[in-house]
Symmetry: C2
Subunit: 187 residues, 2 copies
Amino acid sequence: MEIDQIIDNIYPLSTKSKNLIKKSIIEVKFPKGHIIFKANKIETSIYFIKKGIARAYAYSDDNQITFWFGKEGDPIVSMQSYVNNQKGYEDVELLEDCELYELKTEKLHKLFLKDIEIANWGRKFSELELIKSEERLISLQFNTATERYLALLKNYPSIIQRVQLSHIASYLGITQVSLSRIRANIK
Amino acid sequence: MEIDQIIDNIYPLSTKSKNLIKKSIIEVKFPKGHIIFKANKIETSIYFIKKGIARAYAYSDDNQITFWFGKEGDPIVSMQSYVNNQKGYEDVELLEDCELYELKTEKLHKLFLKDIEIANWGRKFSELELIKSEERLISLQFNTATERYLALLKNYPSIIQRVQLSHIASYLGITQVSLSRIRANIK
DNA sequence: GAAACTATTTAACAAATGATAAAAAAATAA
DNA sequence: TTATTTTTTTATCATTTGTTAAATAGTTTC
């Protein structure tokens, strides 16, 4: 997905303000398997996915638990770094060869203080992420594992096709074995 | 908690900008049990809790499931209404006699477009809510019910003392009976 | 293509949680 | 206070999920 569309989908900007953001963005490419965010590190950039998919995970004991998937158009953000300039708790791994738009957090924060349109763009950005986070929270709290799997299947069919089941299982809050059982029961 | 401190805790503002917000705020009081947000309704205000506690819940079949608690200093917001001007899915019930600060969403949105400091205050507001939402998501996905109960006990002891256990159980994603068992095992 | 490696499914048993009902404890009202 | 209602705990059994191990299927490498 092109950067103009990604920016506009969040909050439409005047050409002038959009160009201020675009001037701070560079395109980067990484291969499948690249770890773009490391846990316990302050991340200095945010990204938008032009092409490819990614996942965020953290460790619980020795197990990786995936808690986020991103696809074309989605932002890759370590919220602790972005909001509080603190270390994050997550790794982010690219699950395919990826093309990304990179934006330095510091540059964006300077724009927030200078340009009211961009400040509102940043507000909308967090508001939309918040809506997504709440939806996921409700899904985890209200629905059974089977319901969550079916919802993922319906809403993000591309993820299921492109991501291995062990990651999906931990994303759903269950073990890989349990997901296999659920899949067997559905058929 | 006083409104000046609530506003400043989100993002410090100049006197001028803070007064713009404060001019739009009125104080209101409601008794225990009052339903301040109704599901399937577009809410036109947000609130900040001066005194008291509240919970948000939605229905799953016939069961009320509590998914948020608020105490002094916390905002009461129906995100779907606030962000997208759409109907929310939650009721919000006041669990004690409450004193609240009320702010009309429409007035705030006008200020966002006029005052860059307030736009950044609004940005920070959503960012902080997003951090809270992510923390809760991780807690639900990574921790067992027992761990979540112990964390709530540690981080929000006031909630446990002031809220009945059936609400806490659904907040933790388990039944009331299961929470009783967990409490019995801990002692 | 065969061998080696990785991912997924299946099986068996253990542990945790749900559902229902009844008992006990606590809070509220007369 | 006593009676009534609400909240919490306990008990029993069913269901779901976790754990471990083995079998099968699918991929990658040589």
